[in-house]
Amino acid sequence: MTEQIIFYMLTAVVLFSALGVVLLPGVMHSALCLGLCLAGVAGLFAALGADFIFAAQILVYVGGIAVLILFVVLLAGTKADLTTRQINDAWLPALLICAAFSWSFDKITRYFSGIIATTAPHPTIRAMAGALLGDYAVPFELVSVVLLASMTGAVLFGRRKAE
């Protein structure tokens, strides 16, 4: 019973704040809603028993990406943004595309209906560490190269032009 209550509360937080991200006119409000939505997704990870992902989601998404987006929202923008409309003219085709997508997602969800968890969740940090430094060592190192490249790219694009 407690599990159901927690799940539906987290779902309400995630979906309503996601709607806020997409529909609110002010980008600042959207960015704050994004932080709330990412925190709710972290709660869903905790409900799924994924302990390390829960911590990583809080650290990387809520603490890193949401704050970074907030900084950019504060840097890029003018006063006129508060009064101009933020939705383009293609909202009706977009709504149709989203209806098609949600119809197919509904099909897939029905295909997987009735599957319940048979075992209790258990901590996976030790096993994940073994996988990251064992079988998945090469992708792990490649991801660090990607991070280095993105850091270099961010510095390159963000620096002031040499006069």
């Binding site: 980008v27 383009n88 048979t118 963000g158």
Partner: protein, 101 residues
């Protein structure tokens, strides 16, 4: 809770993010909607790991990789947004039409 509950949440979140990508005029709003879609995929990975392969962890390893790559993506994307904003002084994507072609 059943697997289909988590799949439904993830599907709705993905659809909301898709609607945002298709309709927002502000490029920062589009980036935020892309983050919503990535999070929907992450929920799916964790849920399939929990319900179909209990006792294993490879779905969660995949989520870690996705989170890392999403962080890299958003850093480069925001740096590009700031570079474009410095040149064009606007954040609306329909004004980004200086590419000759």
């Amino acid at each position: 809770m059943m697997l289909s509950h988590y799949l439904a949440v993830s599907g709705i979140l993905f659809t909301i993010g898709l609607f945002g990508v298709l309709t927002r005029r502000n490029i920062i709003g589009i980036l935020m909607s892309i983050e919503l879609m990535l999070n929907a995929a992450n929920i799916n990975f964790a849920a399939f790991n929990r319900f179909l392969y209990p006792g294993q962890h490879l779905g969660q390893v995949t989520v870690i990789f996705i989170i890392t790559l999403a962080a890299a993506e958003v850093v480069v994307g925001l740096a590009l947004v700031m570079a474009i904003y410095k040149n064009l002084k606007t954040v609306y994507v329909e004004k980004y039409n200086i590419l000759k072609g």
